[in-house]
C-alpha cells in the first residue's frame, strides 16, 4: 500500500553513528528500510530513507515521534512524511 511508504529525511552536521542510531530505532519499531541515499549540501549531511511501515505494530504518529526523538539525541533534524506527497508533487 502506498500509504505505508514513508520517507525519512535526516539533516545536520556529519558525525559518527547517524545511520546506526536511526536504523536502530527503525528496527525497534519494526519498520523495514527499502532504500537509503545520502548527499552533502552546503556542508550539511542529508540522508534520506525510504521505509515501509506495514509490518510495524506502531502507528505513524508513534514512529514519527520516536524518530524525531532519536534525531534530537543525535543532534539531527528529522522529517518523517508519507511518501505520496513527493510522488504527487513531482509526477505528471
Amino acid at each position: 500500500m502506498s500509504k505505508d511508504k514513508i520517507l525519512i529525511t535526516i539533516s545536520g552536521l556529519d558525525k559518527v553513528g547517524i545511520v546506526a542510531g536511526i536504523s536502530h530505532t527503525l528496527a525497534q519499531l519494526g519498520v523495514n528500510i527499502e532504500d537509503i541515499k545520502q548527499t552533502i549540501m552546503q556542508d550539511h549531511f542529508i540522508m534520506m530513507m525510504l521505509c515501509d511501515i506495514s509490518c510495524s505494530k506502531n502507528s505513524f504518529k508513534t514512529i514519527k515521534e520516536e524518530l524525531v526523538k532519536s534525531g534530537e539525541n543525535l543532534g539531527m533534524e528529522v522529517w518523517v512524511q508519507r511518501k505520496e506527497i513527493f510522488d504527487k508533487m513531482h509526477t505528471i
Partner: protein, 455 residues
C-alpha cells in the same frame, strides 16, 4: 522496491520549511437548507447540531494529516448556506441569534472561521434580506469567528446600487461597533460581484444553494515558493520562460493541495469538492505576492508594470493548476490583500502603492480591494463609490471582484493599524476627497452590460 529522487525530496522540504508552502484552508461546505423552520430557536438548534455532526472531527483529522505529510494546514473553516435564506421563514427572524449559534458551533468544533452569514441581493432584497442586512454589524460585533458577505452585482443582473449604499453603511457601522479593535468587524465582511458558491476563502466563503449536502474545499498557498523559483532564474530570462516556471510551480502546489483535500474528505466521509488555485499571501516575510513582482524585476508592488506582472502570474497559476487537477473551483486567482502581504504593506507604507493602482490590478486578478485600511471619517458615500467601481470591473469583465475595506474609527491617513494573525497590519491609505454622494444616492441599479460586440 519503489525508488525516490533525492532532489525532489530536498526541493519539497525546502518549499515547506523555507518558502512557506502550506495548505491555507480546509473548508467544510455544509448545506443548512434542511434547518429552515418557523421557530428561530428550532432553526438554531438544527444548525448547531448539524455543524457538530459534520465538523466534529475536522480539526483532529486535519491535524493528523498535517503530521503525516509534514505540511502545515493553517486554517480549518466551515462555510454554510447563506443565512439570509435560512432565517427568512421564521416568525421572528432574529438573525443575530443565528450568528451567535454559528459562532458557538465554530468554537465547539475548534475551527478558525465560519462563513455564510451572507445574502445574495444583486437584483434586490426580499423582506428577509432587508432584516438580515440590518443585522450584520451587530452580528459581527457579537461574534469572533463569524464572517459575512453580500453579493451586490453579477454580469447578468447588473449592480444593485441601492444595496451598494446600504452595504457601505454596514461597513461603517461594523467598524464603529468594533472600534476598540480598530474596526475589526469590517475586516470580517466582504461584498462581491459574481460571488462564487464554492469559495473556501474568508471572509467570502459560503455554501451556495446549488451546492450538495456537504463537500470539502481546499485553498492552497504558495507565493513564497513561486518567488523562490523565479529568483533562481537568470535576470534576463524571457517572460515566457518565467510564465512556464510559474505553471510548473503551480502544478506542484495544486497536486499537494488535492492530495491533502482528498485524504481529509475520505476521513470525514464526505465528498471532495474543489481546490481553489488562489495564491494567498500571509504577513510572514517571504510569503508575499508583492515579493513575486520584485522577483520578476519590479522595484516594488505599485510600479508601472505591476498590473502586467499580476496578469501573467494569475494566468500561469491557473494553467499549471488546471493541468494538476480536474476539480478546480472557488476564486482561483492571486490575492492582493494589502494588510496580509508583507510586500504590499511595505509598498503602502512608502506610499508607492495606492488604492487607484490596486483597483487597476483587480481588473486582472481575484479578488478585489482587499484588506485596505482607510480613514475612519471616510463618508459612507465615498465607500459606496469605491464599491460601485469594483462591482463595475467585475460585471464588465465577467469575473469575481470584491471590496473589503476597513474605515478604522479615529484613525487618519498615515496612522498604523494592527489586526493580528493572518489579517496582518497596514497603514491607513488615503482615499479620494471628492464627493460621490449624489451619484450613489440615486439608487436603482446599473443595468447588466451587453454580452456581445465585445470591443
Amino acid at each position: 522496491m519503489a525508488g525516490f529522487n533525492e532532489k525532489n525530496i530536498i526541493e519539497t522540504i525546502q518549499m515547506i520549511k523555507v518558502h512557506h508552502l502550506d495548505i491555507r484552508t480546509t473548508t467544510l461546505a455544509l448545506s443548512l437548507r434542511d434547518c429552515i423552520s418557523e421557530d428561530i430557536k428550532a432553526t438554531g438548534d438544527k444548525i448547531y447540531n448539524k455543524i457538530i455532526k459534520y465538523a466534529k472531527n475536522l480539526k483532529k483529522y486535519a491535524d493528523d494529516l498535517e503530521n503525516e505529510f509534514s505540511i502545515p494546514i493553517i486554517n480549518k473553516r466551515i462555510a454554510v448556506t447563506p443565512i439570509s435564506l435560512i432565517g427568512e421563514s421564521a416568525k421572528n427572524p432574529d438573525y443575530v441569534y443565528l450568528a451567535q449559534i454559528l459562532d458557538e458551533a465554530a468554537n465547539e468544533v475548534g475551527v478558525d472561521f465560519i462563513g455564510g452569514y451572507s445574502a445574495l441581493v444583486e437584483k434586490g432584497c426580499t423582506k428577509g434580506d432587508e432584516i438580515f442586512l440590518e443585522s450584520i454589524p451587530e452580528a459581527l460585533c457579537k461574534t469572533s469567528k463569524l464572517c459575512s458577505s453580500v453579493n451586490l452585482a453579477t454580469s447578468k443582473a447588473g449592480i444593485n446600487m441601492k444595496g451598494v449604499l446600504k452595504v457601505a453603511n454596514i461597513i461603517k457601522k461594523a467598524a464603529e461597533l468594533t472600534k476598540n479593535d480598530d474596526g475589526l468587524g469590517a475586516a470580517k465582511f466582504v461584498c462581491f460581484c459574481n460571488s462564487v458558491s464554492d469559495n473556501p476563502f474568508m471572509a467570502g466563503a459560503y455554501c451556495g444553494i446549488n451546492e450538495p449536502e456537504c463537500a470539502l474545499n481546499i485553498g492552497v498557498s504558495g507565493p513564497g515558493v513561486v518567488r523562490w523559483a523565479i529568483e533562481n532564474m537568470p535576470k534576463d530570462a524571457p517572460l515566457g520562460d518565467v510564465a512556464n516556471l510559474i505553471k510548473k510551480t503551480a502544478f506542484k502546489i495544486t497536486t499537494t493541495g488535492e492530495l491533502i483535500g482528498r485524504e481529509l474528505a475520505q476521513r470525514l466521509d464526505i465528498p471532495f469538492g474543489v481546490i481553489d488555485l488562489s495564491l494567498a499571501p500571509t504577513p510572514a516575510k517571504g510569503d508575499s505576492v508583492a515579493g513575486i513582482f520584485q522577483a520578476m524585476g519590479l522595484e516594488q508592488a505599485g510600479a508601472h508594470g505591476t498590473t502586467a506582472a499580476l496578469a501573467m502570474l494569475n494566468d500561469a497559476v491557473k494553467k499549471g493548476g488546471i493541468m494538476a487537477s480536474s476539480y478546480v473551483g472557488g476564486l482561483s486567482g492571486a490575492f492582493i490583500p494589502v494588510s496580509e502581504d508583507a510586500g504590499m504593506i511595505e509598498a503602502a507604507r512608502q506610499g508607492v502603492l495606492t488604492i487607484d493602482k490596486l483597483e487597476a490590478m483587480t481588473s486582472v486578478c481575484s479578488v478585489g480591494l482587499d484588506m485596505i485600511a482607510i480613514p475612519g471619517d471616510t463618508p459612507a458615500t465615498t465607500i459606496a463609490g469605491m464599491i460601485a467601481d469594483e462591482m463595475a470591473i467585475g460585471m464588465i469583465n465577467k469575473k469575481t471582484t470584491a471590496v473589503r475595506v476597513i474605515p478604522v474609527p479615529g484613525k487618519k491617513e498615515g496612522d498604523w493599524v494592527k489586526f493580528g494573525g493572518l489579517l496582518g497590519e497596514a497603514p491607513i491609505m488615503p482615499v479620494s476627497k471628492l464627493d460621490s454622494s449624489i451619484f450613489v444616492n440615486r439608487g436603482g441599479k446599473i443595468p447588466a452590460p451587453i454580452h456581445s460586440l465585445n470591443n
